[in-house]
């Protein structure tokens, strides 16, 4: 068969077929496939160069080994019936999820300068699938952090809950959390469009997001104004879920509320991201 016989484009014929509406089922299937292709793209990059995952392991190790040990020994923070190290371990997991995701938006600025954004946007890929795929791939990176935090916590004698359902819940929460912070980061990137401004804003946000949460101390000991910030900070909700599941705390309806908040925030951010992402090509 010659190349010609395999498919010379026939404009009119193709166009008519393209205008026929496709069913909701095939449309959803395509959407999921595209989302996974974008996640696959990121995963392949990571496979070629996994050094980032190793260097990222240093920070949670320092927090747990240095900060955690010191604060556990001085008993300065009231953590109820939990030891401080137990209390802190899920918080450090949440923090690693935040830190590994919050700068991920810079990749879309790179991709914009390289024209990769343009090529993706010209392809028949739903904008939402592009953004959701990137969020999922941030989740893959964050899972590597979860593994490290679990190993360190186990070594330090944290009272880990190994119930498979709880582990599955942690996995879901980590993916949701990184989807939230990476999409938030991408939204900022879409708005500022330059590396310099992006890095500035990223630096500005990271620490306040971390400290205005219940990651390493309870909300009850915060001053009133900080309590308000902690309550609107998605990180607090992530910490709540992780603390309940990782330590095997009693499961209350509050767990569901926290998960619903995380899902809702993810959905809203993905929707905003899908609206802003095409602006990168302008």
């Amino acid at each position: 068969m010659t190349l010609q016989e395999q498919g010379v484009p026939h404009g009119e014929l193709d166009s008519a077929a393209l205008l026929r509406p496709i069913g909701i089922f095939s449309a959803s299937l395509r959407f999921v496939q595209k989302t996974l292709v974008i996640a696959e793209l990121e995963a392949r990059k990571l496979r070629h160069d996994p050094t980032e995952l190793l260097t990222r392991a240093v920070q949670p190790a320092l927090w747990l080994l240095v900060f955690g040990q010191v604060f556990a020994s001085i008993r300065a923070i009231p953590t109820g019936d939990l030891s401080y190290l137990d209390y802190m371990a899920p918080g450090i997991l949440a923090q690693s999820v935040l830190f590994i995701s919050i700068f991920s938006g810079i990749t879309v600025i790179w991709e914009r300068d390289l024209g990769i954004v343009h090529k993706l946007l010209v392809s028949p890929t739903p904008r939402t699938a592009l953004v959701l795929g990137k969020a999922l791939s941030a989740g893959v990176r964050a899972l590597s952090q979860a593994i490290i935090v679990y190993i360190l916590s186990a070594l330090l004698g944290v009272n880990i809950n190994w119930n498979p359902l709880a582990l599955l819940g942690v996995l879901l929460a980590v993916i949701l959390g990184s989807a939230i912070f990476s999409t938030f980061s991408m939204i900022i990137a879409c708005l500022v469009k330059t590396r310099e401004r992006f890095m500035g804003i990223g630096q500005l946000l990271t620490m306040p997001l971390f400290f205005a949460s219940n990651a390493i101390y309870p909300i009850t000991i915060m001053p009133e104004w900080l309590k308000v910030l902690a309550l609107i900070n998605p990180l607090s909700y992530l910490v709540n879920v992780l603390r309940t599941l990782m330590l095997g705390q009693p499961v209350t309806p509050l767990l569901l509320v926290n998960l619903v908040v995380l899902f809702a925030v993810t959905a809203v951010l993905i929707a905003i991201g899908a609206r802003l992402y095409p602006r990168l090509a302008v």
């Binding site: 205008l19 300068d113 343009h118 993706l120 010209v122 090509a281």
Partner: protein, 266 residues
């Protein structure tokens, strides 16, 4: 001859700058069409509108019977696009770059592998398929990108400054492959350039833009004839229609991008 692409009073305005003013062009199926103009003439804005990246402020364009304003999602399946910047992903192999694109264009599993292998062979890249693209030369990256944009056999292929920054040998290789695409697949090629030799070599029809407007249209021969003289080159035509200055216009960002592309190539 049947037109495969027509624009109808296409306009794009950015704040108070009219980047494209009432553009009316017709591209015949199976031909190579060149949109020429100095930096800042509105070529890139025009190509962004035609590739659905940028909605027009007014007017419309019809590609293979579909409207860019009403059927953007469907048009994306009919066109291919190679941006001006070197857009292949340096952190993936050539094969992976093609594979991801094939998946994004919904090529079915059994056909995907065959198309990717065929595209690699067609562009003379089969030997380098499993190397990371960051080890490729500029000409190889360009050929890979054209291969990416052809996997789904588009009816119209848009090339934005396809040989910017390439050395003469790599440039010639890209030209040969572009011409071969037209011959073998009947693809209509729509390219922008400000390299007159490129336009003269490749294009069946040329439109020259200046400050957002069409200032001349015709075959390379007819354009040369239109300003008379025996020794006229397309350079003279270009200078005649776009004013004597080649360097007027072109924003800092455009210049920075061209330099960056050139640096990656070199």
């Amino acid at each position: 001859m049947t037109p495969i692409l027509e624009t109808h009073n296409l306009v794009r305005q950015f704040d108070d700058l009219v980047a494209v003013k009432n553009l009316n062009i017709t591209v015949e199926a199976g031909t190579v069409f060149g949109l020429l103009g100095p930096n800042g003439a509105g070529k890139s804005t025009a190509i962004k509108m035609l590739t659905t990246l940028l909605p027009p402020t007014a007017g419309d364009a019809i590609i293979a019977g579909l409207s860019i304003t009403r059927h953007a999602a469907q048009i994306r399946r009919l066109i291919g696009y190679v941006p001006q910047m070197l857009s292949a992903d340096g952190t993936l192999t050539g094969y992976e770059n093609l594979l991801i694109m094939a998946k994004l264009y919904d090529l079915p599993g059994q056909e995907r592998e065959a198309r990717v292998r065929e595209a690699l062979a067609f562009m003379g890249l089969d030997g380098a398929a499993d190397q990371l693209v960051r080890t490729y030369s500029g000409g190889m990256i360009r050929r890979l990108e054209i291969a990416q944009s052809m996997l789904h056999r588009p009816a119209v292929l848009f090339l934005d400054e396809p040989t910017v920054g390439l050395d003469p040998i790599a440039r010639r290789a890209v030209w040969e492959h572009v011409q071969q695409l037209g011959r073998e697949f009947g693809t209509t090629i729509f390219l922008t350039t400000h390299m007159m030799e490129e336009a003269d070599n490749l294009c069946d029809h040329i439109v020259i833009m200046h400050l957002g407007e069409e200032v001349a249209s015709g075959t390379p021969e007819s354009l040369k004839a239109s300003i008379g003289g025996d020794e006229v080159t397309l350079d003279d035509v270009f200078i005649h229609y776009s004013g004597s200055s080649l360097e007027s216009g072109g924003s800092y960002r455009d210049t920075a991008r061209t330099r960056r592309t050139a640096r990656r190539v070199g």
